[in-house]
Amino acid sequence: MEFSGVSGMLIMSLSYEEFSSQAREFQEIAESLDDGWRLKGASDGKHYLYKTQYYTPPQVLNPCNADCSREQSVGATDSQVRESHEDGQQTFVWEYNIVYSVSYEVPALYFNVFKLGCAAPLSLDEVWDFCRLFGAPFGMNAEDLWSTVTQQEHPSTGVPNFALHPCNTQRMMQHLLNSLHFEKKNYLITWLSSVGPIVGIRMANAYCPAL
């Protein structure tokens, strides 16, 4: 963690070692809370946090854009099966990744959203509708956070993801530092509890008693 003045602004960065150790602690808390975050090691040896979350909105917000084709029927009718989504409710799958941004020396949030059963992720417009929904109760200015969204390849898996671009992270952390009781050992948690809600990440208070 560096606090150095550049053009009159404090710079708040996080080294990979700090990220890695905080990610490990984070994962331990998550495990104790059954919060689903997993620490994964990519082929490049770098760690990242990963979580899949399922969300069934009150009504179907978005249609799935994947094409389907049909073929001949297989097997006879199974009288012992009852499909779960016969009530028309659609479940969405959110995949979150917290990766380390080497160029910005901060954590970065990557994500994709799928309709359950569809491999093709939702478009940004569709995701955007969700995020307005998520952000509203927190009084969050979704536009502000979303102004940094880009589509980028996941640095470890190479799969295209939406990403909250880390260019603003240091500045945001600086604001938080000024306004909150904030300790550097809680960098990752503080950051995630700030940007997470907009994409539907809820953080239990137990992650950080100090907050």
Binding site: C68, R70, G75, A76, T91, G117, A119, S123
Partner: protein
């Protein structure tokens, strides 16, 4: 053993929530990679696995296939694993034609063999399998796939008893804690109903129906059904149990170990003993697709994997950000769907094209008749040294190719065409080619929404100006001086603004004979073309976004004389992108801007009613006269008459062709 007499309604079959496969991008990405580098044309089955969890709080029983699904060693205590086989086919035909029934039967027969041999008693993980049949069309990034979770069914051998009850109705918190502790992270267990001790699964060979719970990790959260993994476990139970009929209580573990699976349910099931030799067994387990049919799914991942689509998305995303952040009322589609015709592929043409690309414009047509010369690449931003070889590549073609290189998703066309001009006489031999050129140009103008005049002579602008007015197109025009530029939009009948020629009291003549600065863009300060191109493109975007579009009136409050801007007007929703001036004139040496408006001129040689109706009546014959007869247009419009009247007044108007009057 007696089958209980059913005096009441017939017994309900015991029902299961099937697995829903959730195969994510990472997996397809990995599979593509594997196919290219490892599998190649091999169709042998590949080992992989899916995972399921018990606290997802959704009704679906999700089987995830993901990034590390090929990684046999990866593991996590919170998830349960389904081992499986991937059968990736090389063609859509082999995918379609392979015997799917046989695949399912073969896999289920292995499971039955493991049940019979007792192997599955020792390792219940052998009971559940995932089959994934796939075909990857790597050109289109289409992935066809079909999952199966093999099981088997014999009618009237599994019945639901009574209703499903919450675990808390039966077990105290303390007992639930003991249960959770003794089950650990096993997918299946037999738990003593009083001691909550776990006994080996093989103990089901004894009659344990009254003494033990069957416990399983349930990926479903359905109120009425048990999750799919239980199905084959109950088949094994029905095979090994000593009695012809037994009733079991099954605890479906749901929730989290931390809270001792607080959401668990207890199901009651009556099983009839089976041998798998009975007639009437059917094999089940193929997943339905999104339409609810038994059929494969197609994952179209072109927008994730196809570099062309990704590039397009990236352009669009940039623009969307602008919309979200700064201009929520921005209608990006209106801009990106504009078909733009760029007349001239020189410095202005190249730079306007680059700017349009930034706005997400997808259809651009270049028109030029020049060739790329050695002096061009330095200033004309789409050309390279190589384009100058062999006498030079045609500019329109080279510019189109360069644009396509930058953004392959564009629809870029080009036409090598010389625009006929007044004062450039057409010889008898040239009449037909010129007629063709006119027809081609008029057709292009008709086909496009916006016409950009980026030509280096004044008279070359005459015909497209006239045709643009005739077809009521959006016409944008840029002209360069040595250290000045003009960027303007041509007026319409509604807004009564002028065109490029409306200011003139002389008709367009052959200016190349005696060039003046304002018409010659090769002798300009290098930055001027970039500035003019960007002002013109932004004017275009502003106009497209304007409530009144091409008919928008300019805001008179905004000119260099008025230092007070009407802020309300500026911020009004009519003008998403702000002001849409008629003309922007800049003088670089003084860093001076002007945004003058000029009226449509009734004697204009390009847009006046007399010219337009004459073209309408006489067509090409009229044009020929305009090309060939020096004063024809001026006589037609009455300009000549006016000139005679004011001759003595020594008019110092725009004077850019006064020399042309002398021979």
């Amino acid at each position: 053993m007696s089958v209980p007499e059913s005096t009441e309604a017939p017994m309900e079959p015991f029902r299961y929530t099937p697995f829903s496969s959730q195969i994510d991008l990472h997996f397809w990405h990995k599979l593509s990679d594997k196919k290219l580098h490892e599998l190649k044309l091999c169709e042998d089955p590949v080992e992989f696995h899916a995972e399921y969890e018990v606290n997802l709080n959704i009704k679906d029983a999700v089987a995830c296939v993901s990034y590390d699904s090929f990684d046999v060693s990866a593991g996590n205590s919170r998830v349960y694993r389904l081992a499986g086989k991937l059968l990736n086919k090389n063609s859509i035909e082999t995918f379609k034609n392979c015997d799917k029934k046989n695949l399912l039967e073969t896999s289920m027969n292995e499971i039955i063999a493991n049940i019979k041999s007792g192997a599955a008693l020792e390792d219940p993980n052998l009971l559940n399998r995932i089959l994934l049949l796939s075909y990857a069309d790597m050109k289109k990034y289409f992935f066809y796939y079909w999952c199966a979770f093999p099981s088997a069914m014999l009618n009237d051998t599994q019945h639901q008893l009574g209703s499903v009850i919450p675990v808390s109705d039966r077990l105290s918190d303390q007992n639930r804690e003991r249960l959770a502790k003794n089950v650990g992270n096993l997918p299946f267990a037999l738990i003593n109903k009083t001691t909550f001790e776990r006994c080996p699964v093989s103990k089901m060979k004894d009659d344990i129906s009254g003494t033990h719970y069957i416990v399983f990790a349930d990926p479903s959260s359905s109120e009425t059904n048990a999750g799919w993994p239980l199905r084959n476990f109950l088949l094994m139970t029905a095979y090994h149990m000593p009695n012809e009929t037994s009733d079991f209580e099954v605890i479906a573990l749901r929730g989290t170990p931390r809270t001792f699976f607080e959401k668990s349910k207890i199901f009651s099931v009556r099983l009839l003993k089976v041998t798998f030799e009975e007639p009437g067994w059917i094999y089940v387990g193929y997943e339905r697709n999104e339409k609810g049919q038994y059929g494969p799914r197609l994952a179209n991942l072109s927008h994730c994997f196809d570099p062309l689509v990704l590039a397009q998305n990236a352009v669009d995303l940039n623009l969307k950000l602008m919309k979200w952040r700064l201009a929520p009322d921005l209608k990006l589609k209106q801009i990106s769907e504009m078909k733009c015709l760029l007349l001239g592929a020189g410095t202005l043409g190249c730079n306007v094209a680059r700017c349009l690309l930034g706005w997400g414009v997808k259809q651009i047509t270049f028109l030029d008749n020049g060739k790329v010369s050695l002096s061009n690449p330095a200033r004309q931003s789409l050309f390279k040294f190589a384009d100058t070889h062999n006498g030079g590549r045609p500019k329109a073609e080279a510019a189109a190719a360069a644009l396509k290189d930058i953004h392959p998703g564009l629809n870029v066309q080009y036409t090598d065409l010389k625009i006929p001009m007044p004062g450039h006489a057409v010889s008898a031999n040239d009449v037909e080619p010129v007629r063709e050129a006119v027809e081609k140009l008029e057709k292009l103008i008709e086909e496009h929404d916006a016409v950009f005049l980026l030509l280096d002579t004044r008279e070359a602008r005459w015909l497209p100006t006239m045709l643009g007015a005739r077809h009521d197109k959006m016409v944008l025009n840029a002209a360069l001086g040595f250290d000045s530029f003009l960027a303007m939009r041509h007026g319409t009948l509604k807004n009564k603004l002028g065109c490029y020629f409306c200011n003139d009291i002389v008709g367009p003549m052959n200016s190349t004979k005696d060039r003046t600065l304002d018409q010659q863009c090769t002798v300009t300060r290098p930055g001027v073309s970039f500035m003019a191109a960007s002002f013109l493109t932004e004017l275009f975007a502003t106009l497209v976004q304007h409530e009144h579009g091409n008919d928008a009136l300019p805001d008179n409050a905004f000119n260099d004389d008025a230092d007070e801007l009407d802020r309300n007007e500026r911020d009004s929703p009519n003008n998403v992108l702000g002001l849409a001036p008629h003309q922007i004139r800049m003088f670089l040496s003084r860093l001076h801007f002007m945004t003058p408006n000029t009226q449509r001129f009734s004697m204009c040689t390009a847009c006046s009613p007399s010219v337009l109706s004459e073209y309408g009546n006489s067509g090409f014959e009229f044009l020929l006269r305009a090309f060939n007869e020096p004063d024809f247009l001026e006589e037609l419009t009455g300009l000549k008459e006016m000139q005679r009247m004011v001759d003595d007044m020594d008019v110092l108007a725009l004077g850019d062709s006064d020399n042309d009057l002398s021979p």
